[in-house]
């Protein structure tokens, strides 16, 4: 009986980042599936940079599920072998495919984010195959040499594509591109804002009032490092949502346990369960701002408590629906009829 071995698990994920440019490599088709039909241009000075975080969640969930079955079991002893095999075939990718329903759901969140930006007349491109995982795990686990090399390659790709500004969608990619890369990539120069900051600055008019009561689970990275807490609240409130704040919110937020989900699944679940209990005291609808928080809090869940990504609220509040579309109707892809907002100046 043994815990998840740190050396081989981190070794395997680090090997993947070095060799396959992601800790859990997924195909280009899967990474870009969310954008189908949105017809986002393949380039532009401003791009929506997903960092593949939403796309990776189903794979991370599947991996975490497998690892938690191995924690404190005889199987933990075979990680060394698994790591050696993973150098030859993408074993981690095979172990972590994720459920089709989850894949659809997390892709939908990205579609919602793109729709919100389009509805606010923000001009942006999407780099498809070049929109890569930014290296959050390597940074957190102290794999600095691996991260440095990876970051340089990510930046090179962005520069080669002529990008000067990125709009990010999650706290981990935001923190890396905005606060970590400038310290480790020579000559780094890129404007980085989250879609929540971009939207809040534009203050779009809601198209529907959402008479709902929620509580917000802040991401540690957003609230304590990147100053993102007021913007999602302003957007939610403006669209009619009432926020019942939990005691530990904003800069005092309590972590969801996500950062240790792979190495210490049980400990991570305990922290998530405690957090869900705290949040449930304020409202039975919880809004998350990060795909990893969403996954981790949902994993433990609680009967009667709904946990959803902030984009699923905002898209209803700010994006028009097709006329006569009933329940589940496809949201319109806004046309660029109105003059596009200059993002850099927004």
């Amino acid at each position: 009986m043994a815990p998840i071995p740190i050396q081989d698990t981190l070794g395997m994920l680090g090997d993947n980042l070095e060799r396959r440019r992601s800790v859990l490599p997924i195909s280009r088709r899967r990474a870009t599936a969310w954008s189908r039909g949105l017809e986002i241009p393949a380039r532009g000075p401003t791009v929506l940079y997903t960092g593949q975080m939403y796309q990776l969640v189903p794979a991370i969930n599947a991996m975490t599920h497998r690892l938690s079955g191995m924690e404190d079991s005889w199987m933990a002893g075979y990680f060394g072998l698994a790591r050696r095999m993973n150098r030859l075939v993408n074993l981690a990718g095979l172990m972590a495919r994720g459920s089709p329903q989850e894949v659809r759901e997390y892709n939908e969140a990205l579609r919602n984010i793109a729709r919100l930006l389009l509805a606010a007349h923000v001009e942006f491109g999407y780099l498809y195959g070049v929109d890569r995982y930014a290296g959050a795990l390597a940074h957190d686990e102290g794999l600095d040499e691996t991260l440095q090399r990876h970051a340089a390659r990510v930046y090179e790709d962005l520069k080669a594509a002529g990008v000067t500004e990125v709009i990010t969608v999650d706290p981990h990619t935001t923190n890396l591109l905005r606060s970590v890369y400038p310290k480790i990539v020579p000559g780094y120069e890129l404007k980085v804002r989250t879609y929540l900051e971009v939207l809040a600055a534009l203050a779009p008019k809601p198209v529907e009032r959402l008479a709902e009561v929620v509580t917000v689970h802040d991401s540690c990275l957003y609230a304590r490092r990147e100053g993102v807490a007021a913007q999602p609240r302003a957007l939610l409130t403006e669209s009619g949502v009432t926020i019942h704040e939990t005691e530990l919110s904003g800069k005092a937020t309590q972590c969801c346990g996500g950062p240790i989900e792979m190495l210490f699944p049980k400990r991570s679940n305990d922290i998530a369960a405690r957090r869900v209990e705290q949040l449930a005291k304020s409202a039975d609808r919880v809004v998350t701002l990060c795909p990893l928080c969403l996954a981790n809090l949902r994993r433990v869940g609680r009967p009667g408590v709904e946990i959803d990504d902030v984009s699923s609220y905002l898209v209803r509040g700010y994006c028009p629906r097709v006329p006569n579309g009933g329940a589940g109707a496809e949201l319109t892809e806004p046309r660029h009829a109105a003059p596009a907002q200059a993002v850099a100046g927004a």
Binding site: P3, L10, G142, L143, C220
Partner: protein, 104 residues
């Protein structure tokens, strides 16, 4: 506990570990969602003392940190706690686990 006189320098020079202003007040441990008696205050003390064996013994604790900054936000001495935890990981990754491109 054995003292390795080179540890503090290895952590400080190469990895930016600096807990010298720590007042040993324990606020960080009290606020930490992990609820581990050792963490992060005592572990930092071990690092400052050069107790390499204690760090290696407590590798699980070092890698359990969420880097959530709850402690750091409330540290009266402004210790960069999460940078320190990352510095310990960089050290353990290199020196103990031999991780990285040229690792095992």
């Amino acid at each position: 506990m054995r003292v390795d006189p080179t540890l503090r320098q290895a952590l400080g020079d190469g990895n930016g570990f600096d807990a010298s202003s720590c007042l040993n007040c324990g606020s960080c441990t009290a606020l930490c969602p992990l609820g581990l008696e050792l963490f992060p205050r005592k572990l930092f003390r071990y690092a400052l003392l050069g107790a390499r064996d204690k760090l290696v013994e407590n590798t699980d604790t070092v890698y359990s940190c969420l880097l959530c900054k709850m402690c750091e936000e409330n540290c009266p001495a402004g210790v960069h706690i999460t940078d320190n935890v990352r510095a310990l990981r960089v050290y353990l990754g290199r020196e103990v686990f031999h991780l990285g491109p040229r690792g095992v």
